[in-house]
Symmetry: C2
Subunit: 684 residues, 2 copies
């Protein structure tokens, strides 16, 4: 655990990465621009179109923030347990605790439908840069050009949706230098087939998270359905039965969420001095809040656990990122490269004006710092539903191209999929979360701010949260559906207190959102210049910063040296049992009963986890790792602690991607989980 | 748990509380100004001088931040387990875990000497207001008058120490309207006699902390020694064998740490909007840090536990204080009283100018907000030692009256007592703490600040902390003693990296300290005016805000109503066993084995905990609760959640002080801990 999308990292921008001076196995490449030459030169590998297309069509993206792959002709999907845990949590009840006890469907009838999962298979990529650029007036203000850009993107997406029926997303790449239209086949009927116990999947807990060596079975198997039947798939990954060898070339096909490698030094300083410290304060606050709630008892603990794990994972990731940025060497490295670039740019005959982008970006960082924490999107499921419903009602009044992103025709199905989710809503947890959000709202805006006074309505945060949660009916799908179906009239006339609250903050929400969009647009324009400057000075050929879209990374299976100690590239089942013994009595270091009772049946030498040098980041969780023949050999689930700086800096010295070995999954299914029927379907 | 001095609450000021309009049993009264009339009027009680003197001389203050009482002629001292836990922690080793297992000395030889405890018995109080005021030039700048005040106080203290041999502290009361000289007999040879298991003392853990009903045996017994033998005491508390009755009048004699009841609305808004949110971010950060360290294993967890508990306690306390301040009703209450006062003041013939203090105080809050987090006192034991040693070396060069507070002749013994403590220093914990402090230093000052660059020396916080902790020898008492004995020459020439670091930040430390003192002096002067204004408009007769000096509070044993439910004033042993059953399987809700195996021996109807309306605050932990006859009936250990606002607002509606019943302690000693010999000594 866990290289899922890091909580809160949704930022507006996607940036070009420093293209041509790639280090080692650096790169998260677009499937329509693969590094054929590098693969040929470094590894003598020929990435044929057929090979790449098969891999792309065998890969899926999870809307819950991770990756996965098709692994059988009858619809089986492999991902991480921690990517699936959101679904496991939503499917759990006090009596059927899937998180603690895992699950195995022994017949099709027993497969459990996820309340709100959407899986995306990337069927095509089309370059639409020309159309987007043509529609945006180069002389417009940032606010105006943001609006124009949004409009043309909404139009392109709707056109494509109408024409093909595929989910159609325009993706901004290379800091706005390129726009690609991604078309996805969607799977919204996704069912749980098998999940191990959390004790096996998250063995070592928060203590071992981001560490290596590891011994985690962080895997879960689902199945996609069409028309109520298991989907019949043409593209799926065959599995290799061979153990991994040190030095072996492997590929990762997944959806890295966000990198910031193009960032200027000023932008990195903003991360170091403002944004990450702010996020860490925020995450620690929520971590303690969820811990305190969990103290109330077993059921409270069960309700809070999935969210608590996610928060802890993000907190640990950001702590590592900050530590990297606070190391003076990191910024010196960036600084000296930037100075070289700017010096060359200053002497450039035609493009020296591109250097203007740097002070521009520096100024934007101050604006961004000023916006930190300014939000009226109180983080609670019920308020989230209310705000979405209010916005939906309003946006539906407008022509498609003028709507907010996420509320266009092309996005509607996905929005309703999440809005009408049957996932349970826990009032006690909602109250605690909302009370804290109201308290934070007071802290950020000041108790005497008119909007704060209006929102609190003369009550303390705790009293107000209780009143709102007890008064709203949005906890039921039927009530949400009624409002959605009733449209703007029903919504704006609703007396549901949560809807009334959302209506009260809507104006401010829109103001903040448009302010953030204006800043993002200025930044996008500046980074497009930076990206041009890099191309002018250093040449072309590289990869754009991550955008939670499908990318190919490559690398080799390779150990490393840490504090003078050699860390082997692979671990095995024997190591898992030893690790449990060595940490006996420590929290999260107990193997589940199924493992203990199977110890004699398991082939202890079977590989369980391994590391490789492929360039990954949050969002890659669940990505398949394949060999030269395109066969699955592993399942990405984490990066080691040294990789936490890879958001802004790739290194292959010690940083490694951590995977579950494919052979380990099969061994566990057969020897521990008595799931021979399931294992027999895999790869076929 | 825990009404010990809340972590970090050390502020510079002690303020007058709104004197004459006391609510119910409000008040923390000076022993030389007891509320004789109120006690007579409300309860028909005559607080004789003899009664008060005996109670005063039977009370003690712990330098670790709590209160206690003498309970036998042969030197026994009663306090809370959580007040003693600092000592229990320092006396523990992996093999002798006093925190987990408790302790019982069955002979004098087995009593364990605390490494650095100092107990103070208040022997006299003298009003020295005249001398202090004469020495301070009314027209001087705040910086200048602070210096003059410090000088005269140092002189008075030294004179008194030389003349009497007693520890002599000048205490600032009523916002600087009064100065009293407190003389203490010191006990520095303090030994552990009995402590229960943490499971019994902190039963219910963080979840039950600040809650009621409770069932905690939060008690520990120590013994003071003189000349290597148990001290022979004339003044000690006899114990009542009677159960507490609802409505019974009781008294609390202890050392409340800090209240802020005189605070203006502007000052409370500063707490609400700046200081407490800042402190909570800080505390949550340290809480997660200690939790993460504890994950490393059992021994790590043992090393971090005492500090982690203290942090959690403070976090919960401040969360409650903030919740109170964020309730609009709280400030409305304060605001309307302030408005009434200012309106009356405006019409006052001679003293209307006192109203100037209010805008003055408002302006000072902005200055204070600007100073938040500005510190170079990195919180680690080793750095703390280094900084104290460096300051000691420098201050010793100056005449007594020019020295920093804490480094004068009068304070020297207490300083050395802590500086030469034999308490263990754990390098692994020190590294983690120091690394985090350096990281926080970067966040607060910016990575490019010259002092930051100097302190980090080109390394990451983690590397730098490792280098400092591995390089210093200050972990040993001998090394610290060598430097202290060597004086300024040895210290300033030392190459110990921690000393070198302390020398590097010393100048900035002094600058910040003097800046804070200047602000505090301005605030003190303004509050002296506020205090005068209150006297002019509302009349005299009250109590000063708490100053961690001995005070008398009174109230009655009394239940309350919460969410419509009647909460009884007392609990018993039967309730403890039921509470454990009701929370079976939950963290911190297991009673220790000693309790489980003694269930049939214990008289289950014996009272265990009770609540009363007496006015207490952090620092009162361990205070004896006595009846009209001056007999011990209880031991303060907590306040309920409703009392957390009492820092700035007393209420007897639901707010209650929570105590262990005296009869409960005796029952536990006899029936659970087989400590009949010890129980036989108590009260005799």
């Amino acid at each position: 655990m866990k290289f899922q999308l890091v909580f809160l990292l949704m930022t507006q921008l996607a940036f070009l990465s420093s293209a041509p001076q790639l280090k080692g196995d650096e790169g998260m490449f677009l499937f329509n621009d693969l590094p054929a030459k590098a693969l040929q030169d470094r590894y003598g590998f020929d990435a044929s179109e057929k090979w790449a297309n098969h891999l792309r069509l065998s890969s899926v993206r999870f809307n819950s923030g991770g990756s996965g792959s098709f692994i059988s002709s009858n619809g089986l999907v492999l991902t991480n347990h921690h990517v699936a845990s959101d679904t496991l949590h939503k499917l759990s009840t006090p009596e059927r605790n899937l998180i603690d006890h895992g699950y195995l469907a022994t017949s099709i009838e027993q497969e459990l439908k996820a309340p709100d999962l959407e899986l995306n298979q990337l069927v095509s990529i089309e370059d639409v840069t020309g159309r987007v650029e043509q529609a945006v007036d180069a002389k417009a203000t940032p606010a105006e050009s943001a609006k124009q850009r949004r409009a043309i993107i909404a139009n392109i997406e709707k056109e494509s949706l109408d024409a093909t029926g595929y989910r159609s997303d325009v993706v901004t790449l290379f800091g706005g230098a390129k726009y690609h239209l991604y078309r996805y086949k969607k799977y919204t009927d996704v069912r749980l087939v098998w999940a191990p116990e959390t004790e096996a999947a998250f063995f070592g807990g928060d203590a071992d998270n981001f560490e290596y060596p590891r011994y985690n079975l962080d895997a879960t198997i689902m199945r996609v359905y069409e028309d109520g039947k298991p989907a019949q798939l043409k593209n799926f990954l065959k599995w290799s039965a061979e153990p991994l060898k040190s030095g072996e070339l492997v590929f990762v096909s997944g959806n890295p969420g966000r990198t910031q490698r193009i960032f200027t030094v000023a932008a990195l300083k903003y991360l170091r001095d403002s944004r990450i410290p702010y996020l860490l304060d925020y995450l620690r606050r929520k971590e303690i809040l969820m811990q305190q709630f969990s103290l109330e008892g077993k059921e409270a603990s069960r309700r809070a656990r999935d969210e608590l794990f996610g928060i802890q994972n993000s907190r640990k990731a950001y702590t590592g990122m900050l530590a990297g940025l606070q190391n003076p060497l990191t910024l010196q490295d960036k600084q000296s490269r930037e100075e070289t670039l700017l010096a060359a740019l200053a002497k450039h005959p035609t493009d020296s004006n591109l250097a203007e982008a740097w002070p521009e970006i520096a100024a934007i960082q101050d604006e961004k710092a000023g916006m930190l924490g300014k939000s009226v999107s109180f983080r609670s499921s019920l308020f989230g539903y209310a705000l979405q419903i209010v916005l939906l009602g309003q946006e539906d009044q407008k022509p498609n191209e003028q709507r907010l992103r996420g509320y266009t025709d092309a996005a509607r199905d996905s929005l309703l999929q999440s809005l009408l989710s049957t996932a349970p809503v826990y009032d006690d947890l909602e109250q605690v979360k909302l009370a804290d959000e109201l308290s934070r709202f007071i802290e950020t805006w000041g108790a005497d701010h008119p909007l704060v006074v209006q929102v609190l309505a003369g009550k303390s945060p705790r009293e107000r949260a209780a009143e709102l949660v007890n008064g709203t009916k949005l906890g039921t799908v039927a009530e949400r559906k009624k409002l959605v179906d009733g449209g703007n009239e029903a919504i704006s006339g609703s007396t549901d207190p949560m809807i009334v609250l959302a209506l009260a903050v809507e104006k401010e929400y829109r103001r903040l959102r448009s302010e953030n969009e204006r800043i993002a647009e200025s930044e996008r324009q500046a980074y497009a210049q930076v990206s041009q400057a890099v191309t002018v000075i250093e040449g072309t050929g590289g990869y754009p910063d991550a955008t939670f879209t499908l990318r190919l990374a490559f690398g080799e299976v390779k150990g490393y040296v840490e504090d003078g100690k050699k860390i082997s590239a692979t671990t095995d089942f024997a190591g898992a049992y030893q690790h449990a013994l060595a940490h006996a009595g420590q929290q999260d270091f107990d193997l589940p009963k199924s493992w203990l009772s199977a110890e004699k049946k398991v082939n202890l030498k079977t590989q369980l986890n391994f590391v490789c040098t492929a360039d990954i980041i949050g969002g890659n969780s669940g990505s398949p790792v394949v060999n030269r023949d395109g066969e699955l050999v592993g399942l990405i689930f984490d990066g080691n602690i040294q990789s936490l700086t890879s958001d802004y800096l790739y290194s292959d010295q010690q940083a490694r991607a951590v995977s579950v070995a494919g052979v380990g999954i099969i061994e566990a299914l057969r020897a521990i989980y008595n799931a021979n029927d399931l294992a027999d379907q895999i790869g076929k």
